[in-house]
Amino acid sequence: MEVSALPISPTNKEKLISAGYTNLASLVIVSPIRLSRELQISVQEASNIIKVTLQCSGAVGLDGRHVVLRGAQTAWEMFSDEQNLKHISTGSEDFDGILGGGIHCGEVTEVGGVPGIGKTQLGIQLGVNVQIPIVYGGLGSKAIYIDTEGSFMPERAYQIAEACIMDTLESFRFHRKGAEDCHERMQPNYFLANILYFRICSYTEQIAVINNLNKIVVEQKDVKIVIIDSISFHFRQDFEDMALRTRVLKELSQTLMKLAKKFTLAVVVMNQVTTKRTDGSFQLTLALGDTWSHSCTNRVILHWDGNDRRAYVEKSPSLPQASASFSVTGKGIRNAISHSKRVRMM
């Protein structure tokens, strides 16, 4: 578009053209002050010219409430969206407490810890808990479980589902409003049928499945959690080029993040631990390196504290660093049991 077509006074138009501003593209990048100096007009006039130019070139103003730039949101809109977001309970109130109510939908949460601490147990528990029907305060949705280590045990999932159903029915014993409708939903078999299980045997398959998740979530409609147990297993082996590995992982995490935002589902990524040398001593840290540690929105580390299992929120944009103890029982993840009740050895 030519400057001559702008709805401004002919004198200014002439000044513009003689100063060399013949098309809009050259005009939109100048500041009003510079323009006023160059054309020897008042700053007020100059900024008017630029406003008109911007309007004509298709840019739109912000009137406070509606940001019309595509994909943008105001902080307030984001806040109210977040208020409506559901959380997926871990099964332990203390654990939920430090997470601000449970695992957040719409975010990627990384969970790391030493072998045997309960990462897989937490994964199965979340896959079950996401299915608690809405009348019982759950999400009533499906889960996708991506198993890279072969540690998923359907028998254990059955146990956890059974216990979850018992506990949910128990706590809702007195208000039966609408509960009859979901009678057939409250069966362990129904819960298990809604866990979609992928067994991955190489990192290529892992990348392929994650790329393909978009389609599957669309097909299955209400998937609210994707659990990857674990993200690191195949990547820590047979990948020689470390720089390339970092970039491939980065891309994976981008894909997961997009998925989480697009379908407001929770992505839970399990990670293994490794040792790292800091200040001359070896310390435990999560695997896959520093670049990866930036990739996940939240990072929770499960660790031993004496004889208790504890969860520690290491990184989160909205939560304080905090830790809470939990235990892994026959029923799944629960609050830590007080010591007096348990048999102590020796």
Partner: protein, 364 residues
Amino acid sequence: MANKLVAHMRLPQPISNLLAARNIQTAKDALSIPEFDLMTLLGVDIEDVRDALARISKVASPPYQTALSLLEERLINDASSGRLPTFLKGLDAVLGGGIPFGVLTELVGPSGIGKTQFCLKLSLIAALPMSYGGLDGRVVYIDTESKFSSRRMIEMGRNSFPEIFYSEGMAQEMAGRIIVLHLTSLSEITESLQQMKLRFLQHEVKLLIIDSMAAFVSGDNERSGSMSRDHLLNCPFSFLKSIAEFSCIPIVVTNQVRGHNNDGTSQYSFLGKDTDNNSEKFMNQVPALGIQWAHAVTIRLIFEAHSGQKFIKVAKSPISPPLAFPFTVCSSGIALLSDDGIEMLGQEINVIRSQGFFSIFDAS
């Protein structure tokens, strides 16, 4: 799935030609390059690359099944849900019937505690006829430390299954089913396992034991070697896992222990160091193979000795609570002193102690 050919994925012809020209032949080649790099490499638009990658991903990703169908499959098909009983009542009960098929089971403990005894007993059981509770199959026993004792094995058999081992020819047949390989390097193991794959598939072999895995990598436990040790072992453990799943047999692997240097190895940076005192007192030992190995095993049984007693502890298992069983080694192999496990608190389950063990000898 990873080795599917890109050329056969029905991609648009131009892209397909370009991929072939850049020597990107399998799904693995295509998917291990970041999107952007692939775009520059092929010199086409990002949209085309994305479409192509989406198509490749779709073909290369394995299908899903529901956890329910997985459970039903296990109930019907006992090859994948089968267990190898240990004939130790308490241990079998918590493991859901014994050592599960298709996964890695690890035995860790100090030397002389009874790991090899346990392995010998397991191989006998796997060779036993079905009617006696065995698996009626062959056993591949990879002995890396020359600790396999056939005499001890026959003795164990005679004491625990007298009706079989004293009947004519049966002892020979049972022992004949156990194939012992003396291998001394990882590459040898990998090679011979590759060769045996067909046998695994024909369900002749019902148990694979490697005693011990740590032999290749122990020796000097210098700190500097710790990284390369982890690295060295990377290859076999994913290979072993694939063998286990591929052939649906239990794989039992033993692991040694080494001294634990209290340099905060088991601590996270945010925890500080004060909690370490506890373990210093005990002078603990840690498994010789590092933490990455520990992530790969599905079941870990720790053998330890303290306060004049030996214990088997179920340290890692997706189904069992953390329990410890006191045991002794007798003429028929390992025997549990009590079938009710002692529940362990927290980290105690992972501690490996070996003192108090020698005091048994002093006392006797």
